[in-house]
Symmetry: C2
Subunit: 221 residues, 2 copies
Amino acid sequence: MDPANWRTYLITQESISSGRSTLEIVEDAIAGGIDVVQLREKETEARWRYELGLELREVTAEAGVDLIVNDRVDVARAIDADGVHVGQSDLPVSVARDILGPDTIVGCSASTVAEAREAEAEGADYLGVGSIYGTTSKAVPEEESGVGPERVAEITDSVAIPVVGIGGITAENAGPVVAAGAAGVAVISEITTAEDPRDATEALRSAVETTKTVGGEGRSE
Amino acid sequence: MDPANWRTYLITQESISSGRSTLEIVEDAIAGGIDVVQLREKETEARWRYELGLELREVTAEAGVDLIVNDRVDVARAIDADGVHVGQSDLPVSVARDILGPDTIVGCSASTVAEAREAEAEGADYLGVGSIYGTTSKAVPEEESGVGPERVAEITDSVAIPVVGIGGITAENAGPVVAAGAAGVAVISEITTAEDPRDATEALRSAVETTKTVGGEGRSE
């Protein structure tokens, strides 16, 4: 799927899933209509991530859901993922592109217009912009307050590639992120810690689509 | 260089280098006659390792010294390293081989004969066997006593690929590891924490070569 059409994006983190496996959470999210899953699980060994990745590849491929791997370009290639997502401390976008080729999605995290422009220039296919509302999933105290939906507007005004908002996003606060120009929203906690991850995914999807419908294709200002 | 000809193998870890950069330590080790350098630096971000890797690639290439990357197959490929070294919790040897092709060295850690045979069957070019004498560089309390040089003998009797001993090895205790059949020895602390890493490398090399000369080409029994 073209990242411009991603509405809901799940980033996996088994450590906060209340004892449920990432595979279970992903299957529930697929049932709820998720568009893309990012295998993250940052604190785990590569072998474990690779084996989980092979499982996720099966269920996502069957459902027509995109699978992206965080940070590890080698794991992305090994499990035949649809793409990789790199942060500012990971391998450069250009290196990921060189290893994975032109047909694989390469996404990049950006929290400023400068980072967004650089990632686009290096060949990124989409941007993860945040942290929008701050986050409890990552230890980034200096960003606890979040860059806000305004940053999405600044960045979508500055680059042509699609933007996914990330950081503290819920069904309740997703609207302004989409209204600011994001193609979709990425979440960890909202789905992973939910009592019913399927319902949580449906609610998030509905919030995004409602705003898209109200605001038309572009940004509502 | 064929791993069978490696005598001394430095694994980098800037965190124990007393404020000296890994590049400095590697340059000193090269001056002391090191055969191969493994970029490890396990607790660091991929971007940092990639950038350091580009620097190490320059100095090792100029000196004709092999450069191996620990764990990250993508970083190995990105910096055009001579090979990658994977542990039992990293990507499988076969996956590394698939990404890097037949001409790149793929090494694997093995502490038992079973692991050694499996790695060889998967296509590993050499084995890192240990921890020989236990180690202070890694947090592996259950192996603190070490598998001993005897394990090197068992493994070299069981596989055809060359073995490098690792774990607590110094110029003083390297002899028995080589006498047991190891092609060479790998160290972190012995060179990285040395007051003079060049002298430490020379002493280690001398210890290995003396045992090789005394014992002939094969194992002295």
